[in-house]
Amino acid sequence: MDFFLQLLLNGVVVGSIYALVGMGFVIIFKSTSVLNFAQGEFLLLGAYISLAITTSCKIPFFAAMLLTLAFAVLLGIAIERLILRPMIGKPVISIIMVTLGLSSILRAIVQGIWGTDTRPFEEIFPAAPVRIGPVPVSQAYLWSIGCVVVLLLLFSLFFKYTRTGIAMRATAFSQRIALSMGISVRFMFALAWAMAALVSAIGGILLGAIRTGVDASLALIGLKVIPVVILGGLDSIPGAIVGGLLIGVLENLAGGYLDTLVGGGIKEVAPFVILVTILMIKPHGLFGKVHIQRV
């Protein structure tokens, strides 16, 4: 039973990070219909920038984090303006490829500046674990779950009540109608990319803190989150959260119970088996908007 609880808890923690990154995917897809394959690299860049700021400037962690987030916002806006805007109206394959090209460029920048060795991440959260019932839980885990919950609440409120949030939803619904209502679609696109970069940077910092180090493998999570957003539905923020938690828990349970049967590696492939199953029976995910199109 303890083993099960431990797996469940690990799943929830990993799942909350997935949910965070998935949220970045969804924000971009919802308003611009672009699936951003460079999301993992946003994460990587966020982690490295915060690392660079804390180690070189010797400023407190909180200030460094704010600076990182400001940088991430600028990066998101720059990428939207320079790379994604010329691609508006191009076929899906071109848009997929342009984000894949972007991911190569970002990875090259990270490798060129910081090399390929694992860099130790400074200890942000105290190492002593807290006990929840019978299971010891590291504080970094609790912090990351807390952050995810707060961000989720903030974004839900933002999309529901603020003027800009509603404008973004209107843009997602129909760009033409949004334009005729006096909404600047370009501004909404830039905002979506900035928000996605921001969320990913937070995810990067949290992951760096949990793993106590960053290296290029951090970017792989960008691909692993794809099953999450498909499961939840590509255009639903609650979907990303539920999908993230579900995939996190399922992959940990599969890893815990099945790894011994097949000799490891189940954790990596389980989300993709789920992905194929979902695509076959419910391609628009649990909470996604259903577009009826028969071929």
Partner: protein, 347 residues
């Protein structure tokens, strides 16, 4: 555009792939030069050339599926792995290459068709993800089926053989790779002049209209997956023979992205484009290596940055091509040709 005074007096002439004497002569000359290359080139350049040949076959395969049929696939690296591992296994049983290569191609075609089944329900983005999942599932299979694939450590591949003939050097494998490549290019070129090829293009252009016109979508989409995977399987098979040792590291997801980049940069839905793109993407790291070794005296730090430089230039090439020349190098080549054809009188 047809040149002035170029009259076709028979259907055979009108249908010819190489429609002028000049084109036929230059092709023959080019092939002769290619035949002579292994006699003079160093082993390093033979290796590069072999990889170009394999990449051309693979890029053609992907272009048939993605460029001509409009089905986006991120699973091509896994399909190549299927071909490569089938060859490794069959060759270790002592079978000659005339059997292993087609058999690996057919096996890969079957695997490709299985993973092509979701294409009936899924389009665009969703199909890309389904094939991405196919990549990871096949990769999992490859790393865990130890008795056949050797697991993470990989497996060695005996030299391609046919009775007493053993293709054990890069120079000898070259003839195998390039004769197959020549045949497969010709096959692809002809495929798009048949009913099947035209059905592929119809599906790409507008699937609903294609269905209305009597194209059985499921059948032709599966067929496209099959043909494309056959090409990729043959490419993987040749890769196994050329590399002599294969492990899962030979077929990462980045390889799939490399192949997609080839057809994007070369030109989607163009045979010439697949060839140019394969040349460009395979040649890019070699050109960069040359450039860094030349600049080594001036900027010694450059050698350390080579890996990231390669990655960055690769990404930049994709992005710039997509923004400035979305139809790829093949379209640019056509424009250049038209310009010179009308030189002096272009207005």
């Amino acid at each position: 555009m047809i040149r002035c005074g170029d009259f076709k007096t028979s259907y055979a002439k009108d249908m010819a792939i190489f429609n002028s004497g000049l084109a036929r002569c230059s092709l023959a000359l080019f092939l002769l030069v290619l035949l002579a290359v292994p006699l003079y080139a160093t082993s390093y350049w033979m290796d590069v050339l072999n990889r170009v040949g394999i990449a051309i076959i693979g890029a053609l395969g992907l272009n048939i599926l993605t460029g001509f049929t409009g089905q986006i696939s991120l699973g091509n690296a896994a399909f190549m792995a299927t071909g490569a591992y089938s060859t490794a296994y069959l060759a270790s049983l002592g079978l000659p290459f005339v059997i292993t290569i087609p058999l690996s191609g057919i096996l890969t075609a079957v695997v490709g068709m299985i993973f092509g089944v979701p294409s009936l329900r899924l389009k665009g983005l969703y199909l890309a993800m389904a094939t991405l999942a196919a990549h990871f599932i096949i990769e999992f299979g490859v790393t865990h089926w130890n008795s056949v694939t050797g697991g993470v450590n990989g497996t060695s591949v005996p030299a391609a053989s046919l009775f007493a003939l053993k293709l054990d050097s890069d120079g000898k494998v070259f003839y195998l790779i390039f004769s197959l490549m020549f045949f497969l290019v010709l096959f692809a070129k002809n495929l798009f002049r048949t009913k099947v090829g035209k059905a592929f293009v119809a599906i790409r252009d507008q699937d609903i209209s294609a269905e209305v016109m009597g194209v059985n979508l499921f059948k032709y989409k599966l067929m496209s997956f099959g043909v494309s995977s056959f090409y990729l399987g043959v490419a993987g098979s040749l890769l196994a023979y050329q590399a002599k040792y294969i492990s899962p590291e030979n077929f990462p997801i980045t390889l799939a992205i490399d192949y997609l980049a080839m057809i994007i940069i070369g030109g989607m839905g163009s045979i010439l484009g697949s060839i140019l793109g394969a040349l460009f993407i395979t040649g890019l790291p070699e050109a960069l290596r040359l450039a860094t070794s030349v600049l080594n005296d001036v900027f010694p730090a450059l050698v350390g940055l080579f890996a990231s430089l390669k990655l960055g230039v690769f990404g930049l090439a994709i992005v710039l091509f997509l923004i400035f020349e979305p139809d790829g190098m093949a379209a640019r080549w056509r424009k250049i040709k038209t310009y010179w054809r009308l030189y002096h009188f272009s207005h």
